[in-house]
């Protein structure tokens, strides 16, 4: 047998080398993610051209070519239109937004009383933020405050008429404030009502079940516009002559009923996903119907459908814009009204500027909600995926 010569043994590790350029680094990343196949390269090229075409245009419209200061429409007009900007100019007319900002936020709410709206908003945020952060204790108390006490406080603050506060009619309300009031009431009403409807739809009592099904399917089958239309034109017919309904209240009823039908279907999905054993377990412990639902089934079902519930909230928030069709002025309504009804700012760029501004606000709210729901979903995920 031949003996191996072991006279040389490596005593220290070789130095780590850089990964081969084919495998790591910007070049390899690009080859893998942008130019993997000829077809992929072609698509990348087309996409780059498209981005290079659109992005500078959008950026210059929003930022670089935009007008930032000015007192009236002449600031945003080209020489051909009677202003001073070069012919062919196109850019956002931001002074329009800044001069109408108060209107977009509060509508025609009296100037001297706007502190009340701001105070309501501050209270709401002060109650909402701790509710949303999972680590903050006293969730139960917090929920009671925000859904039980806050509506009363907000009602008194916004409407006034008591405690020496000036009465402000709801027809003067407008802007983002109305959007938020509609969304808050819609959410606060549709969640409990949706739970009841979902339970009704799964009830063993035929009458209750039938009524729930009829309500849910009818409301889901027609557009919100029709429901609002009914609320606006038919509710006054339903009450005894002489009784008048506040217009905002009618819209609130319409929005809340509409949202509850959708909420009911989302929650029903959660109820169906709870295994039978949970119901039977609750029964065998001798719990009554409401105890069974409230202590065993609902907590699990609601947790399962949190993404669906937040999605309903987001659509509800977007749907509040539809009240402009029954001539109420929410955020979109005030923007639209300023665009078509305000000669001080009538320029070709006003409409685009106003809608981009409104879109940004709606986007921030909706995107925020969807991100928060993703966060909660991950947090509540117990790993018991079936």
């Amino acid at each position: 047998m031949q003996e191996h010569d072991l006279s040389w043994v490596r005593t220290e590790m070789t130095l780590a080398q850089r990964a081969p350029s084919r495998e790591a680094g910007a070049f390899a990343w690009g080859r893998k993610n942008l130019f993997a196949t000829p077809l992929n390269s072609l698509m990348t090229a087309i996409a780059i051209v498209a981005v290079a075409w659109f992005l500078p245009k959008i950026l210059s419209w929003v930022l670089f070519d935009a007008v930032w200061t000015g007192a009236d429409r002449t600031a945003c007009l080209t020489t051909a239109q009677g202003g001073e900007l070069p012919v062919g100019w196109s850019g956002a007319c931001w002074p329009f937004v800044s001069s109408r900002f108060g209107y977009f936020m509060f509508g025609r709410y009296p100037l001297d009383e706007r502190w009340r709206v701001i105070l309501t908003g501050v209270i709401f945020i002060a109650l909402l933020v701790p509710l949303l952060i999972p680590r903050v204790p006293y969730k139960g108390l917090n929920a009671v405050l925000i859904f039980g006490v806050f509506p009363v406080v907000a009602f008194i603050l916004l409407l006034g008429g008591v405690f020496g506060l000036q009465h402000v009619e709801t027809s003067l309300w407008g802007g983002l404030m109305v959007t938020l009031v509609l969304s808050y009431v819609g959410i606060a009403v549709s969640l409990p009502l949706g739970i009841l409807l979902a339970l009704g739809r799964r009830s063993r009592m035929p009458v209750v079940k039938l009524l729930s099904v009829i309500f849910i399917e009818t409301v889901r089958g027609v557009p919100l516009v029709t429901v609002l239309f009914m609320a606006a034109f038919m509710l006054p017919l339903f009450v005894p002559p002489g009784v008048t309904f506040d217009k905002l209240l009618r819209a609130l009823i319409g929005v809340a009923l509409f949202a509850s039908a959708y909420m009911a279907e989302v929650i029903r999905g959660g109820l169906q996903a709870i295994p039978r054993g949970q119901y039977e377990g609750a029964d065998s412990l001798g719990l009554g119907y409401w105890q069974k639902m409230g202590l065993i089934v609902m907590p699990q079902a609601l947790k399962l459908v949190i993404p669906g519930i937040v999605n309903s909230f987001i659509s509800l928030f977007k749907d509040t814009t539809l009240v402009l069709i029954i001539s109420m002025f929410d955020l979109l309504g005030t923007v639209k009204q300023s665009i078509s009804g305000d000669p001080t700012w009538a320029t070709p760029q006003t409409a685009k500027t106003g809608y981009v501004f409104a879109a940004l606000i709606f986007w921030i709210f909706c995107f925020g909600m969807s991100r928060y729901s993703m966060f909660m979903e991950r947090r509540l995920d117990t790993g018991h995926r079936r």
Partner: protein, 396 residues
């Protein structure tokens, strides 16, 4: 032996009659029905009283009355002398027009973006994500108004219209296209199309049967394309090319002739299809991700190419996940078409609103809305359920 005292006829301890679930549920239901009857009676009574006070007659007789208003976009003949009933039909036709075109466009864009969200290409993936996140989070009504007041209203007037290829024009009054005018014998083209579709259906069936029996494949797709395009073309030439185009002519103040797509329709169509497409994209993405990885790997192990595995393994299974939520998106789009009223496109809702203002028949108009929208919803659901059943897993 001591006899045991056996009590006979042991009845189970009856709980109090108050705790019998059947009686309880009966009681609850009776209460609900009574409350409902009372509520309805109260509402009906109030309504009749209100209607009597404002001198509004009830019933659908008003549908026969002369409407007296014009409708700008009409797919069927209509004038201000037509009846209210006809005006409603025009509105329904317009609603369906927006719904159908919007659904087709939204499906195409949505599938492209949804597949783009899963692309290997980083740039495409990011663009698709940005598209979805932007459009999903903005109210559709806002987008409609943006297109209508922000973009299309800024287009030049008729005199300065943008001239596009094929004799089309784009200006603030909309999009002007050449409209095809079919001459004599045009039915041959339609017949050719019908024959082409029928033939490709049979070819596909035969090819499938043959592949199942012998394993031999047949280029079904190419044959079908050739048949569906070729047969109408054959008919077209047989009939002696009976097609001319009515080109839009530039007049002093207006463009005459041709097909005019109004800015109202265009804004509505663009906004609704882009908005709904962002939801469809997410549905498609979830559907494709929902097909388990083992399926793709098994397809690769069988030697299918990536496009084959996508077409024959992944997509058929993804469709099962996709169809139910896709149906509800289609219904949403149809219902959202009622936003047309904000920009004055005469859909069912806008026409109904005008009629309500003229006649005051609130209840009847709302009943018409409900019946029509519910019928459309129901028909779409039935169609999609049928499609769903066809695509469903054949479990053995």
């Amino acid at each position: 032996m001591a006899t045991q005292d056996v009590t006979e006829d042991v009845s189970p301890g009856r709980a109090s009659f108050l705790y019998d679930p059947r009686i309880r549920s009966l009681f609850v239901q009776i209460v609900v029905v009574l409350l409902l009857i009372l509520g309805v009676w109260w509402i009906v009574d109030n309504t009749l009283e209100n209607l009597r006070r404002s001198n509004i007659s009830t019933g659908f007789d008003f549908l026969k009355g002369r409407s007296g208003f014009d409708i700008s976009d009409q797919l069927i003949a209509y004038s201000s002398n037509s009846t209210y009933g006809r005006a409603l039909v025009v509105g329904i036709a317009n609603t369906l027009m927006v719904a159908v075109t919007g659904i087709i466009a939204a499906t195409i864009i949505g599938f492209l973006v949804g597949i783009g969200r899963l692309s290997n290409n980083w740039l495409i993936r990011k663009i698709a994500t940005v598209y979805v996140e932007i459009f999903r989070n903005i109210p559709p009504l806002l987008v409609i108004l943006f297109w209508y007041q922000g973009v299309l209203a800024l287009l030049p007037n008729v005199r300065g219209s943008y001239v596009l290829p094929f004799g089309s024009y784009l200006n603030s009054r909309g999009f002007y296209l050449p409209s095809p005018v079919w001459g004599e014998g045009a039915w041959l083209v339609l017949a050719g199309l019908a024959i082409g579709v029928a033939l490709s259906y049979f070819v596909a069936r035969r090819a499938k049967a043959r592949q199942a029996a012998t394993g031999q494949q047949f280029p079904v797709f190419l044959t079908s394309v050739a048949l569906i395009l070729g047969m109408p073309l054959l008919g077209f030439f047989l009939a002696g090319m009976p097609l001319t185009f009515d080109l839009p002519q530039k007049g002093a103040f207006n463009l005459n002739g041709g097909l005019n797509i109004k800015p109202e329709f265009l804004s509505l169509f663009l906004a609704l299809s882009f908005y709904t497409a962002s939801f469809i994209a997410e549905i498609v993405r979830a559907g494709i991700l929902g097909v388990s990885r083992g399926q793709t790997e098994a397809a690769a192990a069988l030697g299918l190419s990536s496009s084959q595995s996508l077409r024959m393994v992944v997509i058929p299974q993804a469709m099962r996940i996709v169809i139910p939520p896709l149906t509800s998106q289609y219904l949403n789009l149809t219902k959202n078409s009622s936003l047309a009223v904000a920009i004055g496109y005469p859909d069912l809702y806008a026409v109904g609103g005008t009629i309500l203002n003229q006649t005051g028949q609130a209840i009847e108009v709302v009943v018409v809305f409900m019946v029509v929208y519910l019928t459309i919803s129901l028909l779409t659901s039935l169609l999609m359920n049928w499609f769903n059943a066809k695509m469903a897993l054949n479990e053995r």
